[in-house]
């Protein structure tokens, strides 16, 4: 090329360098960038897990007596007795994940416009598609994985701590391990996280769309229009079609993906609660995913066209 006289300043090796990076590299670095900026993605679940563990440590002070009481219970209640704290903790961490996802999505495409750093990001050869998808990757993939990993590690720490206290008091830890269905509960958690993520996809998509569009107070734009629509419909037509649609979107996955029937015992066999086939054949799931894709496409278009605030 025209830079022939520049070898002394170190330009020559660059002409030999491949001009193209692998297409996954910009995506990989875009995701890392999100994790740098929004450290709450992994810190918040870890903090909640830490608090849970703190509570658990206080609880196991009385562990030996509790175990002695528990072994007198029928086997089913024993399992419930031992694994209940873990179940509650998992729900707490999963809810933390939802809250983090909510605020992350609202800020992801809004903050970069507000602090004008979008001008820096756009000065680099990364497409808007890559950027928006890397941001969507956080609530769709990264957060569920983080939640699952934190819950799993928390569970193992609880088991180890419990075993240590029992062993120190001359009780066999086998009682604890025998009544702590670690594998099954992890599978249930994994399933629940996958179901929730897929079901909430249009909500994440909506939040990202608002984030790429709002000029201020993204949270109000995200929440008030759906609420306003419910109220308007109620007043105009005295119906609540939209409200029930929203309600279904917020909690419908519980009835579609899980089923409790009288014959099964959820404590002995939590896997019997899961109905993946029915969930995957729910029209609401696929309709939601289509809407989510449309919202993401809108967010990509807006990122290209909107200017810094």
């Amino acid at each position: 090329m025209s830079i022939s006289s520049e070898s002394a300043t170190g330009f020559e090796p660059q002409t030999a360098r491949p001009d193209k990076l692998s297409p996954t590299r910009p995506f990989y670095w875009s995701v890392r960038r999100e994790l740098w900026e929004y450290r709450a993605i992994y810190i918040a679940p870890m903090v909640v897990a830490g608090l849970v563990l703190l509570g658990f440590v206080i609880r196991i002070m009385h562990f030996p007596q509790m175990v002695r009481t528990a072994v007198a219970l029928p086997p089913m209640e024993q399992t419930l007795y031992f694994s209940a704290p873990y179940g509650i903790a998992s729900v707490a961490i999963a809810v933390t994940g939802l809250i983090v996802a909510f605020f992350y999505c609202l800020g992801a495409l809004y903050n970069e416009r507000r602090d004008r750093s979008i001008l820096f990001w756009k000065s680099l050869p990364i497409s808007n598609v890559t950027t928006v998808l890397s941001k969507a990757f956080i609530p769709f993939v990264a957060l569920p994985v983080v939640i699952f990993a934190v819950a799993l590690v928390m569970q193992l720490v609880m088991l180890i701590l419990g075993s240590a206290v029992l062993a120190a008091n001359g009780v066999s830890p086998a009682v604890l391990w025998g009544h702590w269905p670690i594998l099954k509960m992890s599978l249930v958690l994994l399933y629940a996280l996958a179901v929730m993520t897929l079901w909430y996809a249009p909500i994440y998509g909506w939040l990202l769309l608002v984030s790429s569009w709002a000029r201020s107070m993204a949270i109000l734009w995200a929440v008030l229009p759906p609420l306003g629509l419910c109220i308007a419909e109620r007043i105009a037509a005295d119906t609540s079609f939209f409200a029930s649609l929203l309600d279904y979107r917020l909690s419908g996955y519980l009835s579609e993906a899980f089923h409790y029937s009288k014959g099964t015992n959820p404590v002995a066999d939590p896997l019997a609660l899961l109905t993946p086939a029915r969930f995957l054949s729910t029209p609401g799931l696929w309709a939601g995913l289509v809407v989510a894709a449309a919202f993401l496409a809108g967010a990509i278009w807006l990122r290209r066209n909107r200017e810094p605030i």
Binding site: E6, K20, L21, R25, W36, D115, S123, L124, I126
Partner: protein, 291 residues
């Protein structure tokens, strides 16, 4: 191939017209100063060049359509926008990692060598750096990218004199060579006068002056006439006259140099003086040479 070629470039925001038919050709290897008052359309022109805003008309940057091909174009184009836009949460080493990760033409060693000459610590966050240091960091990142076009939109705004001087010195000595093109907009016109090869004045979305520095030096003369020659000097039709301390200063376009010299003291004007002259002679609806 011209680095930038614009024909009939237009851009309107609602009712206000930011660019009103701009024709401009920038050849490779030039350093162009884009000069105009606030709201003249400089930033809009640069944003169109960088594929940040859609526009009407014809625009090619390095042979590409910037709006349709921004992603590819950004491999060869760098820009520093008008205010510090580096994300404040980012650490210096993260910025290096990130640009190295996403830019195929980034030479990390070069950026680090430049940073080593500054006070910037690798573990600092951008928010902890002074404004001058943030600009140094941005310059370090940009200069380590082997780009063909560098766009600087008020790169030294709000910096003190030392940083401003160092900025342009570094740019000229360590970065610019005849294969690169630089476009710079700034209000500190005096500071860039020495480095420019071309200048364009823009006002109300139109180009009112487009000339190379050689042309500028050949065409324009500033005369401080002796008091008794005032009327005679005015008869030569200066394009602008201003009052300095106890004397008048006149600006001439294509005037006879010897004739002027007989009337008083003759100098090459500064760009700033020409700018003031051109802007006050063409207020409002300027119908520049390029119509």
């Amino acid at each position: 191939m011209a680095c930038i070629e614009a024909r009939g470039l237009r851009k309107a925001y609602g009712n206000s017209i930011a660019l009103d038919g701009v024709d401009l050709k920038v050849e490779e290897g030039r350093i162009l100063g884009l000069i105009g008052p606030n709201g003249a359309g400089k930033s809009t022109f640069l944003n169109a060049t960088l594929g940040l805003v859609p526009y009407e008309g014809d625009l090619k940057v390095l042979g590409r359509n910037p709006w349709a091909e921004r992603d590819q174009l950004m491999r060869d184009v760098c820009f520093i926008a008008d205010v510090a836009v580096l994300p404040r949460w980012m650490r210096v080493h993260q910025a290096l990692d990130y640009v190295a990760g996403v830019h195929p033409r980034f030479d990390r060693a070069k950026a680090e060598a430049f940073l080593a000459r500054t006070q910037i610590k690798k573990n600092s966050k951008v928010r902890e750096l002074s404004k001058g240091m943030v600009t140094q960091l941005h310059l370090a990142l940009v200069m380590a990218i082997d780009a063909k076009l560098l766009v600087l939109d008020e790169p030294t705004l709000g910096l003190d004199l030392l940083y401003r001087k160092q900025f342009y010195d570094t740019l000229l000595n360590d970065y610019f060579d005849r294969s690169r093109t630089i476009i710079v907009t700034t209000h500190q016109v005096e500071e860039v006068q020495q480095i420019l090869t071309d200048m364009v004045f823009i006002n109300h979305g139109r180009i009112v002056l487009d000339c190379s520095m050689e042309d500028f030096e050949a065409r324009y003369r500033e005369l401080t006439p002796r008091p008794e020659c005032l009327a005679e000097a005015r008869a030569l039709k200066p394009i602008h006259e201003r009052q300095a301390i106890a004397r008048n200063v006149m600006l001439f376009d294509r005037a006879d140099r010897d004739k002027l010299a007989s009337l008083g003291e003759v100098r090459t004007p500064s760009i700033a003086d020409l700018f003031v002259a051109v802007m006050t002679e063409n207020p409002g609806q300027t119908q520049g040479a390029i119509a």
